[in-house]
Subunit: 231 residues, 2 copies
Amino acid sequence: MTKKPTMPATPPAVRANVSVAAPASSEEAPTSSRATRAAERRAAIVDAAMEEFIARGFAATRLDDIAKRAGVAKGTIYLHFKDKESMFEELVRIVIVPVVARLTTLPPPAGSVRDLIEAFAGNFLREVIGTRRGDLVRLIVAEGPRFPSVADFYYREVVSRGIAAMRALIELGIARGEIRDKDLARYPQILVAPAMIAVIWQSLFARHAPLDAQDMLRVHLDLIFGERRTT
Amino acid sequence: MTKKPTMPATPPAVRANVSVAAPASSEEAPTSSRATRAAERRAAIVDAAMEEFIARGFAATRLDDIAKRAGVAKGTIYLHFKDKESMFEELVRIVIVPVVARLTTLPPPAGSVRDLIEAFAGNFLREVIGTRRGDLVRLIVAEGPRFPSVADFYYREVVSRGIAAMRALIELGIARGEIRDKDLARYPQILVAPAMIAVIWQSLFARHAPLDAQDMLRVHLDLIFGERRTT
DNA sequence: AAAATATGACTGACTAGTCAGTCATAGTCA
DNA sequence: TGACTATGACTGACTAGTCAGTCATATTTT
């Protein structure tokens, strides 16, 4: 390479909006025991690694950069992770698991199916679309084929559960007469597709043509449930 | 790295199902003038590069491997392309352009809007979903953020045109009363979303849970147009 | 023979991973 | 309590290897 073609990763000033650790008082807070400090460092490494991997992809990310961003020596990374690969794999688990936990903690099953799904979509909008986590989803799509274990994990923990949950909701909707089309239960992907497209769109094309994801999802739900009767 | 973790790229035996050149008689066919031979070599390089980039991503792909797969010395690549980066960029153009050309050559605008869209979907199924070109789309999603010029090109040549074409069809459908939901014209993405999801699904999750893309698209169109009246 | 092409050994910049040594903290003893 | 020792988290210079890009040489075409 004649010169570095890669654009700089998000500069350190713009910190992740999704942090693994508590606010991580950046400097000199020996608030803590050895174990605590170690945990903080690990979290700092995870945050830094996520930023770098999202910005550059797995292969092009340098461990030196992760170390610098985390404010840690390179060797320290190897105290916490076996190697670059397993760091990437663990990273995905660490970031994804709590999100799934939160999203699958459904709100009380009160109200119509549409209300349930709207609550779901609202969470998704807030927690994923247009956030670092959305970028992480794109990263998984990007690196999945080269990391079968990551793809497997993601399928098992996120996709299959999500599909199952959506299918259950759709079947409920059909049973209650809220949803007309009975075939929809066979392809819950259709229900989720616009949300996924929104994630990708924000990552790739937002600067060409911003997308009002919330409004789009509303239109999509109108399509499935029929126009929203203004309560 | 202690050992190569990457799985081998598709072995040379399994040739691309999408070739840039004519069948590329692999050995010794001096059928041709210099210019022709040069063009064949260039095409072989493009094919090989596509395979490798799809299998490994940009950063992890070695030019030595592309050369070997194309049956060419590494130096030869530099007779055709300035460097790895511009090879990738040109590659995308070279492969995408003819597909767009073919897909935008609409069949005679006869029949219902649904028929038009179904024809479109059929082409897309055949030409993209589950083919190397589908993988290329995933690759663009993957590398887009690191190759703004690729993302720009893809947006300009494929996405914006596709969206515009879909919008036109939707508006026609609304005008003719085939489509109920008027808001759909504001988000043609909704019409296309399941097809994109199918592309990604085949790439990432096919071996966990195969997806009948054709049937899914049919269900989706039923959702938009209402159940298909059996002609 | 001259020109156009093609080759692949070579170079140098770059980076994953290592490890001997440092030092703040935790633990022990008088 | 204060001094002294043990621990292991942390460091960063270093090694071994990789790979994009070059170019002197060989091969093919005209």
